[in-house]
Amino acid sequence: MLDQPLDQPLAKVERLRVEFETRDGTVVGVEDVSFDIKPGETVCIVGESGSGKSVSSLSLMRLVEFGGGHIAGGRLLFDRREGGVVDLAQADTNLMRHIRGNEIGMIFQEPMTALNPVFTVGRQLTEGLRLHMGMTRAEAEARAVELLRQVRIPEPERRLKQYPHELSGGMRQRVVIAMAMACEPRLLIADEPTTALDVTIQAEILALMNRLKRETGTAVMFITHDMAVVAQMADRVVVMYRGRKVEEGPVEEIFANPRHDYTKALLAAVPKLGEMRGRPDPEPMRLLGVEDQDLRPIRGTDEPLLQVRGLVTRFPVKGGFFRRTIANVHAVEDVSFTLNKGQTLSLVGESGCGKSSAGRSILRLVEPLAGEIDLDGLDIMKLDADGLREARRNMQMIFQDPFASLNPQMQLVDQVAEPLRNYGIASGSEITDRVAHLFDRVELPRSFLRRYPHELSGGQRQRVAIARALALNPKLIVADESVSALDVSVQAQVLNLMMELQAELGLSFLFISHDMAVVERVSHHVGVMYLGRIVEMGPRQAVFENPRHPYTQALMKAVPIADPHRRKSEKDLNFKPIPSPIHPLDYEPAPSEYEEVEPGHFVLTTDSGY
């Protein structure tokens, strides 16, 4: 494979400039971006959201044009297998069509939407093969099976006949990868291939790509905003900021010795697993460029605020002729924990393990089947509709997606004032006053009061959501994946804000996340969930430094570490797919029993299904 001299770049982007014609005039997507990719090399492009990463990659495929952009300047040199170097910026559509999928493959960000929902996996996989390689249907199918096997999809023959929605997110992403690899392209562009995935699946996919690259010698252009992923994957790194390249260099160099301020800030904002080793209490993160930060640890109290005992939540699965309940989704199964005043309890676990359901059950936004919920002496389960409404004054929730959780048609001031109005706490100008103070509190300028959600950045929106949750002065805030959708730098700011508020107001957080590094940073206590149960629970330090349950241990292993020297290989990972939480009506789950391995550190002894 490596028959060319290594220093001859495979693709070379020179002074690329992409413009978009919008109603507000011309928008420049990227400007003056140059970098190159050599055969067999992985170049990572990092940068925050909107910095132009996708636009650069789409330009290389000449796909920007379909999104309304055009390449306004620069050259996109690509060394074709035969036929020498061509400038893709000038290539005609036929040539581009030949290159796409055949010589350059691309993996897209969203596995959920990148596949056509109405065609079988097999059809979508073989399409490119039949087009570019001129294979017959049978040959293409044989090759497709081989490809699926390469990306380690079990039972590949059966998968070919399935539709995308019948596969899990991880499997879908593998199909997308297989599709991009189908014609053995020499350059593979991967645009945030793992952002939407769970840690465990992410780890697998990253390992898979590394292996494929090794085996086929394909050059990879890897786009991400996650520095930990960069550390796992990259040979070289290109850092982008606001449409421009700000720094470029070998991965070790970038991590060890960042030059540009932005790179430095980016690295500083990344929470690294193990950073908090030896420190029992959470501490705000040190952010670059922010003066006089208060970085004192947050102690909280040992006085219990929320006590949950034996919480069970099930969702009925209807079916049969009369639409009766034929089975249940056991979303939360016998969960018990205690959250102290002024402290944070985190729930971690894979997607679908029941974290959100647990959080919502506590506010009775979904109705739990059984269990006790005691909030500061008040038995939540016993309340009627009015009592519950009243009780929700003391417990609020921040949702995962800051955009989805704000009404797009309402001004921010009204959204934040809504709880105040609902409970008749304030009226008239007092409301505006209070809302303004809340904005101050979450460090949003008051000029934003009259804006609409879409006029804010993700981080700002999440602040609005926090302000809204704070409006009622609750004692408990359930933060459901509140920072998962944010850029690292913004995520760090929001995390700091939350911790700051906790320190000042004595708030208690039930923090739900799948990001182990973030959890390590913010929690006093941690509960690891698997298939509806808490499999391990205890002080954060105990759980992170001494994980006892096999699932916890596997989870820890899967977390990518933002250190290029500690790369993981596929062999380290060992994940079984999560068994189905759907059980027939007569299924009686065993009660959760715990063994106290250390003081306050419990490990589930009941069979958890792992």
């Binding site: 936004l365 929700r392 797009p408 048609q409 609902n422 000029s447 879409h454 950045s457």
Partner: protein
């Protein structure tokens, strides 16, 4: 209603895709804040068809409602000597078989047609939105209300109209006078037989909306059902409703003309575009201009309103407007 029901998934309903945050451009945040309607207007302005449609529609409405103050001939004035005349200075649109001035009749007819269009649309929209929102929001009402929709789809308009005429004409005449009475009747007839598509669309949107996180968020803040619907649901289904609205005006105008064709429309001394057009089709060959004016007026109105709807949809859709 309890909170519990909300989480029973509806059959066949794909969860609403969450809108991912748009790429953040910092300078965007320094722009001064604008009101929602200013945004809508901005968006609207850029849609050429919509803008022209809007202007044209406005022009039609103005002509039809204010025109009679300028062109003061009485549309029912019969000048039998001047019948069946072509366009002239005295009668720019000519006269009809009884010598009534066509321009005045066009304006009078337009007043009725446009009012019927708007009023019937409002009624259909009100009913459709109400039933759509109810069916979408309260799972328990969904089945019955959708069956009701089936029922209305199956109901024949004509007998219904006759029944309504019989039951309500006298009382309406007594309270509103004969012209208003029949107007209300026809508006109601068209309204209650055309709300079904709106109801279905709104229901679909509400079902999707109900799964959105901001609804859950509002509930966790103690928002009651009524407020939920008023604050969160309705504003967000506004854009499909607006589109139905513009389509509704057009269909109402056309339905009214079809009713005239079947002899169930307005009384004869109550010109509407539909009736004028229908009356004129007999004279299609002798006096083609008689067909031309009402035909043109109906087409132009429908056309302008449709373009208006297109523009409004773009303008009201926050996903488009937000970018």
């Amino acid at each position: 209603m309890t909170d519990k029901e909300r989480f029973v998934p509806d059959e066949g309903l794909a969860p609403a895709s969450t809108v991912l945050p748009a790429a953040g451009e910092l300078d965007e945040f320094t722009k001064p804040p604008r009101s929602q309607w200013a945004n809508v207007w901005d968006q609207f302005k850029t849609h050429k068809g919509a803008l022209w449609g809007g202007i044209l529609f406005l022009l039609i409405v103005v002509t039809v409602f204010l025109g009679p103050y300028v062109w003061t001939i009485d549309p029912t004035h019969i000048d039998i000597r001047a019948r069946n005349q072509g366009p002239s200075l005295a009668h720019p649109f000519g006269t009809d078989q009884l010598g009534r001035d066509m321009l005045a009749r066009m304006m009078a007819g337009g007043r009725t047609s446009v009012s019927v269009g708007i009023a019937a649309m409002l009624l259909a929209l009100g009913l459709g939105s109400l039933i759509g929102v109810m069916a979408g929001f309260f799972k328990r009402l969904d089945g019955p209300l959708m069956r009701l929709t089936d029922l209305f789809l199956a109901l024949p308009l004509l007998p219904l109209l006759l029944v309504m005429m019989m039951l309500f004409r006298e009382p309406l005449n007594a309270t509103f006078g004969p012209e208003q009475g029949i107007f209300i009747l026809i508006v109601c007839a068209i309204g209650i037989t055309s709300w079904m598509p709106t109801a279905r669309i709104v229901r679909g949107d509400v079902l999707a909306l109900k799964e959105r996180e901001f609804v859950l968020a509002a509930r966790s803040m103690g928002t009651t059902n009524t407020k939920m619907i008023l604050r969160h649901i309705l504003p967000n289904v506004l854009s499909p409703i607006m589109v139905s609205a513009t389509l509704g005006i057009a269909t109402a105008i056309i339905t009214e003309s079809a009713l005239s064709f079947l002899g169930l429309g307005f009384p004869p001394d109550f010109p509407t575009w539909g009736r004028l057009l229908f009356d004129a089709t007999d004279y299609l060959q002798q006096y083609p201009e008689r067909v031309f004016w009402p035909g043109m007026a109906i087409s132009l109105t429908v056309l302008s309103v449709n373009y208006l709807g297109d523009g409004l949809r773009d303008a009201l859709d926050p996903r488009i407007r937000g970018r």
